[in-house]
């Protein structure tokens, strides 16, 4: 009973902000003292705009690639941090975490010059690269704790049983740290998905993701359009979390792993 009340409150808290958003998205004229707006398809119609669809594709692509790259890089860093003690371990740990502490704007302003010099500015590749800065630290942290619970001798055990390097990775290591890897990649996807400043600075307005469009609409004070876009931005992460939550709770291996984290 208590649990039901708790989850009810949680769901309300999460969903409440979406109510005005939904209202605004379908609003034509919405002024005081009206409680319910005058309906209009203009806001939602915005979504079908080719520019929005383009931005959706760009956002998905960038966030997807960032999630995969950050997971791979972060898994390597996390393995080193979680499994081994080595000279300068603390320094590496600090450097990895620094982007999460130092404001990204400051970092990016410094880096931008180099991106321009090496022709990475104004390109999707450049945006992907720059978004690794805020994502890799989180992935590394999650993976470090995943690897801290991994017995690296399992790889030796698999080796003596005849597994070569690739099969050890795929059949032993990845399944063992898989839950952490899923969570870490999800983090990276979500960070990348809502990133605005880095995309704007490095993408130079040429690489248009959904947050960029949203800010433009907010700037133009077109609230129904902004609300409709916000819904588009909010939906994919919600779907993703909903899909993975089945993995992350209950008795699945991923959930068991999560609790260990």
């Amino acid at each position: 009973m208590r649990r039901a009340v708790g989850s009810g409150l949680l769901a309300t808290g999460l969903l409440l902000p979406f109510i005005p958003l939904l209202l605004w998205a379908v609003a034509g004229d919405f002024r005081y003292p009206a409680v319910v707006p005058e309906l209009s398809g203009r806001g939602l119609g915005m979504i079908a705009d080719p520019a929005v669809l383009d931005a959706l594709v760009t956002s998905l692509t960038i966030a997807g690639v960032v999630a995969v790259l950050a997971a791979v890089i972060g898994a390597g860093a996390g393995r080193a941090l979680g499994l081994y003690t080595f000279r300068g371990r603390r320094l590496v740990q600090f450097l990895l975490l620094a982007p999460a502490i130092v404001p990204t704007l400051a970092v990016t302003l410094g880096i931008q010059v180099f991106f321009i010099r090496y022709g990475l500015a104004d390109s999707v590749a450049g945006v992907v690269l720059v978004q690794l800065i805020p994502t890799v630290p989180y992935v590394s942290l999650v993976m470090a704790s995943a690897f801290a619970n991994f017995d690296v001798e399992s790889e030796d055990a698999a080796r003596v049983l005849g597994a070569g390097p690739l099969r050890r990775l795929i059949l032993v290591t990845v399944p063992a740290v898989g839950p952490g890897l899923v969570v870490a990649a999800l983090f990276a996807f979500l960070i990348s998905w809502s990133e605005y400043i880095l995309t704007l600075l490095i993408g130079g307005g040429v690489v248009r993701t959904l947050p960029l469009l949203l800010f433009a609409e907010i700037g133009s004070a077109d609230l129904p359009a902004a609300a409709a876009l916000s819904l588009v931005i909010a939906l994919p992460p919600l779907l993703l979390v909903a899909l993975t939550s089945r993995l992350l709770t209950g008795g699945t291996p991923v959930a068991v792993g999560m609790r260990r984290l």
Partner: protein, 397 residues
């Protein structure tokens, strides 16, 4: 028996022709910073026998085992299984099975799939893998557990699955790295029996690493004692008690009574007088070693009839141990010896007794230079029977 002697050829067991021996020669393994962990090791495990590689922690036995498995690369030396050197084979293709201290089962696979993992690596089809896994589970006493999750197993069951996982590949040599050390005592002894039975039934040449002297004696056909990265002595378990090859081997096996003196022929001159000992020692400054349980304690003889190798002693401490008693005795010249006597023997502290040192149970070794190589920490405590080492207060002059 000499140090690092070859194994006795015949251990009185049927030896199927498929079984081969393991031979390690001149093996040296070092870690990066130039520290040699295994130094010039010669080790033989006769076909279809179980040899215990015994040594205190940090002596290099696990390193040696991992090198045989191919997980570490030696600097020099050779490892032969049967007639062929396996040095060039990577670990994944060596015909060895390895069971670690921890079970290291793959948590995302079922028990059956864990056992079938090695077969899967060899491309064995799934139905065959299932069947072989089920057979192995029967063999290790876990029938019908193939579908269980690894997390449902107890510690002992996990280690049995690990054993099955290694044995299902029919390895020519089975390597075990203290596989039962994390189990409680009762379970450990049952696992030892299981291992012994399996090893005999499947006729696998086995090298079993342990730091537990008692375990080595109980489970092995032969023992190789490893100290500081070298094989100190190799032989049958009984040899380590009755005829230890070296002073350090004798000490490791709990021969705690050491009497310094001088040997000439079969006469040993020491603080207790002149003792007769078995022939074979090297003349000169020596140490006589006698096990506490080899000492014979009796009533003092009449002063007139002097018996050879008999010393008057005073009981200074008696500890009741259930199956026996540990006694500390003060001999002439303040020499103190430890003796093990039957539990039923009535002894009082301060009682005068006569102590006989049987010539055959006294081993004499050349005295070693006390400084440097002989740290007190090297003599491990024996579980269950801590006996204070005998010391002489007199100078060695």
């Amino acid at each position: 028996m000499s140090p690092a002697d070859d194994l006795p050829e015949d251990l009185g067991m049927p030896r199927p022709s498929t079984s081969v021996d393991l031979r390690v020669t001149g093996l040296r393994v070092a870690y990066r910073r130039g520290t040699t962990v295994v130094d010039d090791v010669d080790l033989g495990v006769a076909a279809n026998t179980l040899t215990a590689l015994l040594g205190p922690s940090g002596c290099g036995k696990t390193t040696l085992l991992k090198t045989v498995a191919g997980l570490l690369t030696p600097e020099t030396g050779d490892i032969r299984i049967g007639d062929t050197s396996v040095l060039d084979l990577p670990a994944e293709r060596r015909p060895v099975g390895l069971v670690f201290q921890k079970p290291l089962l793959f948590g995302h696979l079922s028990v059956g799939d864990n056992i079938g993992f090695g077969l899967r690596m060899r491309g064995v089809p799934k139905p065959t893998r299932r069947r072989r896994a089920a057979e192995m589970l029967d063999l290790v006493g876990l029938p019908d557990m193939g579908r269980r999750r690894v997390s449902e197993l107890s510690g002992g069951q996990e280690q049995r699955v690990a054993l099955a996982r290694a044995m299902v590949l029919d390895p020519k040599v089975l390597l075990l790295d203290e596989p039962f050390s994390q189990l409680d005592a009762d379970l450990r002894s049952r696992m030892r029996e299981l291992l012994r039975r399996l090893q005999r039934e499947l006729a696998i040449t086995t090298l079993f690493v342990t730091h537990d002297q008692q375990e080595a004696v109980e489970v092995a056909d032969a023992i190789a004692l490893m100290l500081d990265g070298r094989i100190e002595a190799q032989g049958r378990p009984a040899d380590f008690f009755t005829a230890p090859a070296t002073l350090r081997a004798a000490r490791f096996f709990g021969a705690t009574n050491e009497i310094p003196g001088t040997l000439s022929g079969t006469e040993f001159c020491c603080a207790l007088g002149t003792l007769r000992v078995a022939a074979g020692g090297r003349d000169g400054s020596s140490v006589l070693i006698v096990r506490p349980e080899a000492l014979r304690l009796g009533n003092p003889a009449p002063a007139t009839s002097e018996q050879p190798n008999t010393v008057p002693v005073t009981v200074i401490d008696v500890r009741y141990r259930g199956t026996h008693q540990s006694v500390r005795l003060r001999c002439p010249a303040e020499t103190i010896l430890a003796a093990t006597v039957p539990a039923a023997l009535r002894l009082e502290v301060g009682e005068e007794m006569a102590l006989r040192l049987l010539p055959d149970s006294c081993r004499v070794f050349p005295a070693e230079h006390r400084q440097g190589e002989d740290q007190p920490g090297e003599v491990p405590k024996r579980a269950g029977q801590p006996v204070a080492p005998a010391r002489t207060e007199r100078s060695h002059a």
